[in-house]
Symmetry: C2
Subunit: 354 residues, 2 copies
DNA sequence: TTGTATGCGTTATCAT
DNA sequence: ATGATAACGCATACAA
């Protein structure tokens, strides 16, 4: 594996010159440069990244720590991060599925010296120590943080108001017995959405504590099981808010299996607006959230933070979560759902493209 | 930011000793060790990754190059890679969405010196040069390669036989006018699945060239549009093979919108068996493929290759793609689909867990 | 425009 | 059991 020295020797120049050529630094004699490049390509030389980071103290790499990634949502977040990073000439060091604070700490340590910044999703109490530690060395951007950390930028969805809008929609349609299928315990998004649910009920003069709340885990199977439980409940709720779309899909299946019609017998609203939502039966009314955009925003914030260094303030950004009415609630504004959206030929809005 | 030297100085030992402590190398005097550890934690010292890689020539990092990642499938692949990597104490340097050979080359170069191995998905002609280049320095594992590269291990799904089985299923049900919705042009999986489609038709005495083939792109919208086209065709095909489940979802929506019943009026079979497939209406007959397992296998192969060095042969592994009959084709073996699977309480098989 | 020399933070070799 | 010191591959201040 050729090093800068090999190239220098063969090309008959010093290593400094080779280095200059590869960093198009100060003006190098064009002839010298082309000769160096020629030799380099023959030797298949390319600067060693580790050595470069050591001297420059920059790695051109962003650390990304995510929770266990299920379904399309996280995939979109990663896509947004990846896309935007590459646009800024950065790479991504990925680490996910940490079940406890200890693992997070280990992962964080392993990243030290290999990253110029860290993007961390949904940090909980157990991860705060790691965040603080890392923060003293490189900028940190938090995604949907449970707790804001001083000196850290953050991007989050308006989970609370999005959920509230969804439930208000249900209330506005005349429902007063609304069930909730929650996300996994300890998940920030899930908790915020549950909070929005309760607030909307309270605002409507309904008692949140009287509502049927079924614990879920963001997966289809949980939605299905919740559906079975809801159907068994007397009196039976007339509407259900599923904390994400995957669970809504499971729920719809359970209702269908029991012969219930949606929205006639029971209304359903989801959250996320995954690509499939518009194509379900019936097209799912849900809360749209731009997962890819979240990732992109995080990277942009990171670029700003790296630019500013320690002097920069910490930006807290909120991304909208907007109610998208289709047919699963029997909307007053009887939109035709996917028919309308897809008929144009392009199908539902392609999300996440800038 | 404290270095090994700071720790050595404060603890009153040499840097060599500190290094030994952190690598639990040769036996160090327990007292000395604990003193070093104490100082290190006070100084918040942790070894610099870049410096370590430079001397040890190991980065404990695996490079991962993927195509544009859409939908749940790629998310699962990443999950498998991430999970298995961490089990082996490796990190992941991720790079995706390369539209041409030039970008792949740049990404590959940026990884040089930062990775111990490269896992590359669906390399095409344009990427072969990069693969060859990288291969001379670190082991490379190919995922669903279009072309096998000498000296590279590879893991692939039995796309061809899986697709053939799907279409044979349709033929066995009496269909003789079967349409195909393809994946994106240039996608290896898509092409293999198309090949399986054609072969199954030919084997059944049907003319592949006479079949309706509609170009798609693996997304829901393409499936929807294809559905519209299929319904307009005279004579109308009685069955459709969608090259992946997302498109099948779009197709189902289009059929529903037109008032066609599945499978009564038209049969549908997909590919991938995403988590949602069992919860669709009707539950989707599809070809199951373990995306997460693909990622895991790739990492295991990589570990073997790194162990063996240049001496190891190259393993070619094939992962099964098995037809999973639910209700969208009106199966002869009238399985009850999700009802059956989900009734147990655990829902459809949780995939990707080892 | 080009070369020399130093340092980046480690690990590892060889003494002691 | 511990210390001194030479790599590792590169960037850069300084000298020429």
């Amino acid at each position: 594996m050729a090093t800068i020295r090999d190239v220098a020797r063969v090309a008959g120049v010093s290593i400094a010159t080779v280095s200059r050529v590869f960093n198009n630094h100060t003006l190098v004699n064009p002839e010298t440069a082309s000769r160096v490049l020629e030799v380099a390509s023959q030797l298949e030389y390319w600067p060693n990244g580790a050595a470069q980071s050591l001297t420059t103290r920059r790695t051109h790499t962003l650390g990304v720590m995510l929770p266990e990634l299920f379904g399309e949502f996280y995939s979109e977040v990663i896509r947004g991060i990846d896309r935007e990073s590459r646009a800024h000439d950065y790479q991504i060091l990925l680490s996910s599925s940490h079940s406890n604070g200890e693992e997070v700490l280990i992962a964080g340590r392993a990243m030290l010296g290999r990253i110029d910044g860290l993007i961390m999703m949904a940090p909980d109490e157990a991860s705060i120590e790691t965040v603080e530690r890392v923060r003293r060395r490189v900028p940190v951007v938090l995604l949907n943080p449970r707790i804001e950390v001083e000196g850290c930028c953050s991007v989050a969805f308006e989970n609370f108001s999005g959920a509230r809008a969804a439930v208000e929609h249900l209330v506005g349609l005349g429902h007063n017995d609304i069930a909730l299928i929650t996300g996994p315990q300890g998940n920030v998004d899930a908790e915020e959405r549950a909070r929005g649910f309760r607030r909307a009920l309270a605002d409507a003069g309904l008692d949140p504590d009287a509502a049927l709340v079924i614990p879920g885990d963001f997966r289809e199977s949980a939605g299905y099981e919740a559906g079975v439980a809801i159907l068994a409940r007397r009196p039976r709720p007339t509407a259900v808010f599923a904390a994400n779309d995957c669970m809504a899909v499971g729920l719809l299946a359970a209702l269908r299996a029991a012969g219930r019609r949606v929205p006639r017998d029971i209304a359903v609203v989801g959250f996320d607006d995954i690509a499939m939502a518009a194509y379900l039966n019936p097209p799912l009314t849900t809360v749209r959230v731009d997962a890819c955009g979240l990732g992109q925003q995080a990277v942009e914030l990171m670029m700003g933070a790296m630019e500013a260094g320690a002097t920069g303030g910490s930006v807290r950004q909120l991304l909208p979560a907007v109610l998208t009415v289709r047919q699963s609630c029997g909307a007053a504004s009887a939109g035709t759902g996917y028919l309308e959206e897809a008929a144009g030929g392009a199908g539902p809005v392609r999300r996440g493209r800038k």
